[in-house]
């Protein structure tokens, strides 16, 4: 079957699933929903695979509007990649959503929830496969409204309402900007379909390009969660129902990335270095701010949401690097950077879906995702803990998991800026690289905290001490995703060529040869081949050992040093895994050998000799992140809103109260000044309204005078 046929299968199954959600009830509804969801995701996956195999764009007309032209869908490797990621995320999340919908008491609520969920899936697929501005925007708006509906779903909580309205307001603001940008683009080129836009993009002036770039980058960036338009994201992801958060973070963020790449790379190829630098800096700053706020959160879901901002920042930074390289005539480097961006996006979708399902399972098991009330879940939820740990290692970029590959390649790509000539651009890359490296370090702090405070130590609340293991509907997807994290980490040499198929049409060059050659293998086919003598030296020290035994190849990043001694960074997670396994085995055997005949002695926790060690005396997430709060005080700037001591007499204290509020730096620098100004003006206006007739008469007189003076002014 070809790709279009598979897409039809998907759409039919999707429609069936909506019907199942509406007409069935109870366990039957859930089982049917899960079965159909898995089937439709398989169909969508097959759509992607088929598109990759044919490797051409397939068009499918939808309908014709008399005045606006034809609306149509298309399938090509670029969009197919996003479709496949979406399929994986939804395949993992829908079972948990179906299972978890049982928490809603009313049947109508359950139906509405599943229908919204399913419609979000369909609308996203349409966004990814739209081939003209109109259908793209219509699907985009529907998707935005569905996200709003899902965030608002548990509307009885005030936090949900606030988050949902913020989400709606900011997405609509972003949509309006993006629509203006796209319509401007369409107006200037005279086309609404993507092919026409691409063909006509050459006529655009530099000013128009700037306007379109800024409007679409920050407009669509609202969905991708880049600074300064990401205010809604942490609130929305934290307030959304626990089975919706995985999809919001794992799939909808990718829409923003897709839209930005679509407009600014595919449709409107640029030769402006500045665009790339804007994206690069925005991305790196997003990454740092995202991880800083993630580290200082006490709430699992909020921390994960802030960490999504961080990961999207890394993706956007790599994308920006790609734009810069492309504009400066380094197509291979541009391809590398874009591959890295997409790779990291895929990785993020996989592990973040895993982590959000894990957080959802914790929430379902304990009733809270507040880390200060969790702890010790490893004893109550061993499987969840195991899979969650896989996700944690991946997001911390620890080998052999997938996060390591994409973050390593991101930093390596940043270093390739050495090949550029412009000092300003190199400084930009150096700063971004430094920010990303800092981000990577903080990420470890953040996720050690997230894992340790939730799963290790003592239970800090009754709920946590009585938690139940996650249902199969959450556990099996988590296991699958954790396996996928490992696979994407161990087999990058199979993933990168596939990604190369996606990026090659965009940057007009294949980067795969410079990223995945045989270890130190160089021949005439490789543009950055190594000197023969150099290779022989490396072979002499055994750098090729195991190459023939193991399938796959290594990742090599080559920096041109001198001609005799190029700088090579080579790494193979595929080889690393067995080596790590063997090393662990050797250590274990040696350890057992050394300690054989020794007796294991178990003692209770040493707590300074106090009689009873209570959970209150163990570290909280707030305590763990205190050093980060102190170090980055300038950025986080917490405000002690209430630091009060109540006393009896003069010196006997009964309560010491400290409440700190943190206004997100973006909030502090953008929204707050605006709202303050508006409120200030409103206050001024109110002062004018004194309600006395005389005052109003004076205003009228003053206005008349002004009009007269202006009107009668000579000239």
């Amino acid at each position: 079957m070809n790709a279009v046929a598979w897409l039809h299968v998907f759409l039919i199954l999707g429609a069936l699933n909506v019907a199942a959600a509406v007409f069935l009830n109870g366990a039957t509804q859930r089982r049917t929903f899960i079965l159909l969801a898995l089937l439709e995701s398989t169909a969508l996956l097959m759509t992607g695979v088929a598109t990759f195999l044919t490797d051409t764009a397939t068009l499918q007309p939808l309908w014709q509007f008399p005045s606006l032209g034809r609306m149509q869908l298309r399938l090509m490797p670029f969009s197919a990649l996003f479709l496949m990621v979406t399929a994986v995320v939804f395949a993992a999340s829908l079972p948990f959503a179906a299972h978890d919908s049982a928490q809603y008491a009313r049947a109508a609520s359950r139906r509405l929830f599943l229908v919204l969920y399913q419609l979000l899936y369909l609308s996203m697929v349409v966004v990814f496969s739209a081939d003209d501005v109109l259908s793209f925007l219509i699907a985009w708006e529907i998707m935005s409204l569905l996200v709003y509906g899902l965030v608002l779903f548990e509307h009885s909580r005030p936090a949900s309402q606030r988050a949902a309205y913020l989400t709606l307001a900011l997405s609509e603001l972003g949509s309006v900007a993006a629509i203006i940008g796209l319509l401007l683009f369409a107006a200037l080129t005279g086309h609404l379909d993507f092919a026409g836009l691409r063909a006509g993009s050459g006529v655009l002036s530099e000013g128009a390009r700037w306007v379109i770039f800024l409007l679409t980058f920050y407009g669509f960036g609202v969905k991708a969660g880049i600074v300064p338009v990401n205010l809604w994201l942490p609130d929305a992801h934290a307030a959304a129902p626990r089975s919706v958060s995985p999809v919001l973070s794992g799939a909808t963020l990718n829409l923003g990335i897709y839209a930005i790449m679509l407009v600014n790379m595919e449709l409107l190829p640029t030769n402006q270095t500045a665009f790339g630098l804007v994206a690069l800096i925005t991305g790196s700053v997003s990454a740092l701010i995202g991880i800083l706020y993630a580290t200082t959160q006490n709430d699992m879901k909020r921390a994960l949401a802030h960490s999504s901002i961080e990961n999207m920042g890394i993706v956007i930074a790599a994308f920006g690097a790609s734009l810069v390289f492309a504009s400066l005539n380094h197509p291979v480097l541009a391809g590398m950077a874009l591959i890295v961006a997409l790779y990291h996006m895929i990785n993020h979708s996989v592990y973040k879906t895993l982590l959000f399902i894990g957080a959802g399972a914790v929430d379902a098991g304990t009733g809270t995702h507040e880390m200060n009330r969790l702890g010790g879940l490893i004893r109550r939820m061993p499987w969840t803990t195991l899979f969650f740990l896989g996700g944690i290692m991946a997001i911390c970029a620890l080998p052999p998991f997938n996060g390591f590959v994409s973050e390593w390649l991101t930093l390596q790509t940043m270093l390739r800026a050495a090949e550029l000539t412009s000092v300003a651009v190199r400084v930009g890359f150096a700063l971004s690289g430094a920010l990303l490296a800092l981000t990577a370090g903080l990420a470890i702090t953040c996720f050690v905290m997230l894992f340790a405070m939730s799963f290790l130590g003592m239970a800090r609340s009754k709920a946590a001490s009585q938690a139940g293991e996650a249902p199969h509907a959450a556990r099996i997807p988590m296991a699958a995703l954790a396996t996928l994290c490992l696979a994407l980490g161990v087999l990058p040499t199979y993933v990168i060529p596939a990604l190369d198929e996606v990026t090659a049409p965009l940057v007009h060059a294949h980067a795969v040869d410079s990223l995945v050659p045989a270890f130190f293998g160089a021949n005439a086919a490789h543009p950055h081949g190594l000197p023969v003598g150099f290779i022989q030296q490396f072979h002499a020290i055994g750098a090729q050992v195991g190459q023939t035994l193991l399938p796959g190849r290594g990742l090599v990043v080559l920096h041109p040093g001198g001609t005799r001694n190029p700088v090579v960074f080579a790494m193979s997670t595929g080889y690393t895994l067995p080596v790590l396994a063997v090393l662990f085995l050797i250590v274990y055997v040696v350890f057992r050998g050394l300690t054989s005949g020794r007796q294991l002695q178990r003692r209770s926790v040493w707590a300074g000799g106090i009689r009873h060690f209570s959970p209150r005396t163990t570290y909280t997430a707030t305590g763990f992140s205190a050093p980060v709060r102190v170090l980055f005080h300038t950025i986080l700037r917490p405000i002690v809103s209430d630091d009060a001591t109540e006393t009896v007499g003069e010196h006997f204290r009964t309560v010491i109260r400290r409440e700190t509020t943190e206004f997100h730096i973006v909030d502090r620098l953008t929204l707050r000044p605006v709202t303050h100004t508006v409120l200030w003006i409103a206050a001024l206006l109110r002062r004018m309204h004194r309600g006395r007739v005389n005052t109003y008469a004076a205003y009228v007189l003053a206005s008349l005078l002004v009009v007269l003076v202006v009107g009668l002014w000579p000239g």
Binding site: Q599, Q601, R603, S604, W606, G608, G609, I610, R611
Partner: protein, 253 residues
């Protein structure tokens, strides 16, 4: 910072020759009474003078029970002509009741590296002060492979001072339980041996041995640093034990 470096160098080596040689420096030990020959009448008067009952009247003189002697000097000052003999030695460490634990090979394991956890079970502060002197340049126990550790998890020896107050009983038991086997306990100071001037009473157990098994006893009030060192060396079987009671008969040989 260079100034401190220079100051350190200028100070030179101050460390005691003990245990290789006897340290004869004045003031390293307050000394303690020795069993002394007297006629029966004088012996009775002297034994009466002892406020802690450490002096035991004997047919031929006065015996000394070091578990109770706080060397208060009441048997050598203002006593007229009858004065107890006074020794200025410091190798006072003696073996506890259940010291003979066969098969532990304690010396083989810890003979050259030993970690000590100090515990204050209600001591007056003098014992702790003397134990702290072990780390000063004069005694420098690191040269012998002895180290003070803040956690009982790493400790091989528990060094306890004080009569074990009611409130310190559980912390003492917990600390002992937290130490990995093999382990030994050194009780230092008369309080830790018998309760000293404080007990046994309603609030103090009257000695560490009432709560946990003790291997080495170091009498003294407080035992000087060299006596504690002797006790620690004894705990790792690197020196010979002394006795807890001294009888007149033994002085004749």
């Amino acid at each position: 910072m260079f100034n401190w470096f220079y100051t350190g160098l200028k100070t030179g080596i101050r460390t005691t020759p003990y245990p290789a040689k006897t340290d004869a420096a004045p003031g390293v030990s307050p000394g303690r009474p020795r069993a002394t020959r007297f006629d029966a009448q004088v012996a009775t008067v002297l034994a009466m003078r002892c406020p802690t009952g450490a002096l035991v009247r004997h047919q031929r003189g006065v015996d000394v029970d070091y578990r109770h002697c706080v060397h208060c000097s009441r048997c050598r000052r203002d006593t007229g002509s009858a004065v107890m003999d006074w020794s200025q030695d410091y190798d006072w460490g003696a073996l506890g009741a259940q010291a003979e634990r066969a098969g532990h090979r304690f010396r083989d394991i810890f003979g050259h590296s030993l970690h000590i956890r100090f515990l204050d079970a209600g001591a007056c502060g003098a014992c702790m002060s003397e134990a702290r002197q072990l780390n000063n340049p004069y005694y420098n126990i690191h040269r012998l492979g002895f180290f003070i550790t803040p956690t009982p998890r790493d400790a091989d020896i528990l060094l306890v001072a004080g009569p074990v107050t009611d409130a310190m009983r559980i912390p003492l038991q917990k600390t002992y339980a937290a130490m990995p086997e093999p382990k030994r306990v050194v009780a230092m100071g008369v309080c830790a041996l018998s309760g000293g001037v404080f007990g046994p009473s309603f609030i103090s157990a009257g000695g560490v041995a009432q709560v946990i098994p003790v291997d080495v006893l170091v009498p003294g009030c407080p035992p000087p640093p060299l006596a504690i060192l002797h006790g620690l060396l004894l705990a790792v079987e690197r020196t010979m034990p002394s006795l807890l009671t001294m009888r007149v008969a033994e002085t004749e040989t």
